[in-house]
Symmetry: C2
Subunit: 445 residues, 2 copies
Amino acid sequence: MKKVLLNEEELPKKWYNVLPDLPETVPPPVNPATKEPVKPEQLEVIFAHECVEQEVSDERFIDIPEEVRKVYTMWRPTPLVRAGNLEKAIGTKAKIFYKNESVSPPGSHKPNTAVAQAYYNKHEGINKLTTETGAGQWGSALSFAGAQFGMEVKVYMVKASFEQKPYRKLLMESWGGKCFASPTDLTEIGKKIRKEYPDTAGSLGIAISEAVEDAATHGDTKYAIGSVLNHVLLHQTVVGLEVEKQLADINMEPTIMIGCVGGGSNFGGFFLPFLSRRLDGKNIRFIAVEPKACPSLTKGGYVYDYGDTGKVTPLLKMYTLGSSFIPPAIHAGGLRYHGDAPILSLLKKLNLVEAQSYYQREVFEAGILFARTEGILPAPETNYAIKAVIEEAKKATEDDTIVFNFSGHGHFDLAAYDAFFRGKLEDYAYPEEEIKKAMEKIPRI
Amino acid sequence: MKKVLLNEEELPKKWYNVLPDLPETVPPPVNPATKEPVKPEQLEVIFAHECVEQEVSDERFIDIPEEVRKVYTMWRPTPLVRAGNLEKAIGTKAKIFYKNESVSPPGSHKPNTAVAQAYYNKHEGINKLTTETGAGQWGSALSFAGAQFGMEVKVYMVKASFEQKPYRKLLMESWGGKCFASPTDLTEIGKKIRKEYPDTAGSLGIAISEAVEDAATHGDTKYAIGSVLNHVLLHQTVVGLEVEKQLADINMEPTIMIGCVGGGSNFGGFFLPFLSRRLDGKNIRFIAVEPKACPSLTKGGYVYDYGDTGKVTPLLKMYTLGSSFIPPAIHAGGLRYHGDAPILSLLKKLNLVEAQSYYQREVFEAGILFARTEGILPAPETNYAIKAVIEEAKKATEDDTIVFNFSGHGHFDLAAYDAFFRGKLEDYAYPEEEIKKAMEKIPRI
């Protein structure tokens, strides 16, 4: 048996909200000016009311709206797959499974929350969404979601990526998304930056600032976010809840769960439904994997920091390399984030989650081994998870069941594989000295 | 209910061989020199023995080897999906379903036969395979299949495509395939052409000649073919057999079955298992869809012609535009073939299959409607099928059930969508006068 499938009736009816089950309360977002927790009504200027409620909800299970479930069934439930060929190639005694989130139309886990956020906004009378995108995964997921509810989606795409990755932009256009090279002249901050730095290639920080300004200054427009916040991780728990059902169907219990981490939503949504097992003393480890070039969980500090480089967001308590940190241009664009989701950061702090980091060349080697054994070409981000799986599998015993989240395919990342094949991928570890300096710039509250 | 799924135990154990059920015998391949039917031993110089046997088998069902089924389970059975959003957008009374063959690792139906051909060759002691590829779909499918059985795969890729479509080449490399810009200096014919035409951009005809020469002149190497021949259509019937089971599970009978046609393997594999219904007098239509730029079934003649432009293959009785026909550079590269599978051609001749042709702009419009309603971005080839589905659905009644083969996704064809969005796609119908001239060049036997 290769794949464990669920039928549509088995698609979860509720998301799992970990907040009431956490051993400690997640520190709230804080207003940088007042140092007070941000009020819900302040967040609702840019986010849907329902999402803001979910951000602090104490209900353990939250209904997935029927309209969202209907869109989910376009690709969900996703398969849980036994990676038997990979097991053989490694020579491991452990069993390896992967949850295949690459089967969604945009090719990753991202639409799990994009569809939910689009739905809530639509339901609350909003017809336009804005967001930023770097590598393009999130922008395409939101464009797809917008098409499902007949909404206009404006994506501020970092100018450098906009020019280097025309295919991602085309994918967004195919779903009707409007994609702009940021900085644009559509926002005040964009205009200002273009005036000051006419030749700038943009940055994720600038793109966030533009998308947020656009939402904050237009009554018919709100902002959608691809990771980090509690409600995003909540929506992603549909992944872990399916895995739980699928493993139960074949009488398996995971001993090691692995995911790559940028902001933390694919890994969070995947393992959070299993956290209670760990809290109950069961033998289960959760491993977050990140690039050595952007080692927030492994090398960062656990402090309050801005969510963005442009310093327009509230402060979040998280593992961070400092919001001024500009990650080097590694090919796993989705993992180039200076911080981590507050929920994930807290669990790392409490030693309930482990973190590992790898170089990009070794993770691409792992990705190629996966492609040749299991068939699917992984996204560069997913390669980090695969590398950790291989390393754990080598040490594992026959009692181990390793499960990982195959967060996305690499169909739109072939330029990165090209660089790998041509020997042009560079290994880089962010120097401790630089991390120290960046950390010093973080405001202490 | 959106998707009809089968579990792995329901994956067909046998392919369906239509040959014994055809109302007339398919005319055999003929040796151009002797005008006699080609002998099996002549074909076995380049093809696996088992494939040559299947080419003329009179057994109605042929076992799918267990090793092939095992590889199939990496993505099969594939979902049958109700295109409810598309139905709504068109305002049709009919039900529309699509068989989603895009979920395979290479993204199309092609591996159904690539895996079978690789297996048979491996089983017969062959470790190297050669083939040609134009757009790259077939070359990547064979590279994927080769990786599964530890075989070396050499792909002769038309030089123009090699240079314009680096991503397809990278996909092949990811699976270990070796991809060369044809003409190469690895074959005699390649060397000769490079000497005569140093600046040539290559052609599919030249690439076929190189791949065949390579196989014919190396004892450890054979050739694998992506469409046209009987055994290829046989392997593709796994698609139609699954559809039959899936429709039975929901108590549906198709009234219209639609597929795009290049050589005819995706459409053939899809509808042939339903042919007996038609022969039994049931209300069911089979519609083959092709580009107006390459209208072999709608405008070609039914005669013996070479399978390739280079005139190295046997003669096949088929609808053809003449083997000297060089199709214009439309974006559905997989449909740029001058002929059609002999089985399909015979059924068209007998009026058991209808043929329709469309312009490329209107089919891209159809593809975008599909992407915005059903989510998946279709391959340019698949857009032809979708256009015909939409046209039929507009005329259909509530008693109609339209089923089509969603042969592949468009993740590697975004340059074509770019041309469409920028208004740069040109509509072109191959002129009747030109067809007449090309037909006159076909040798009559």
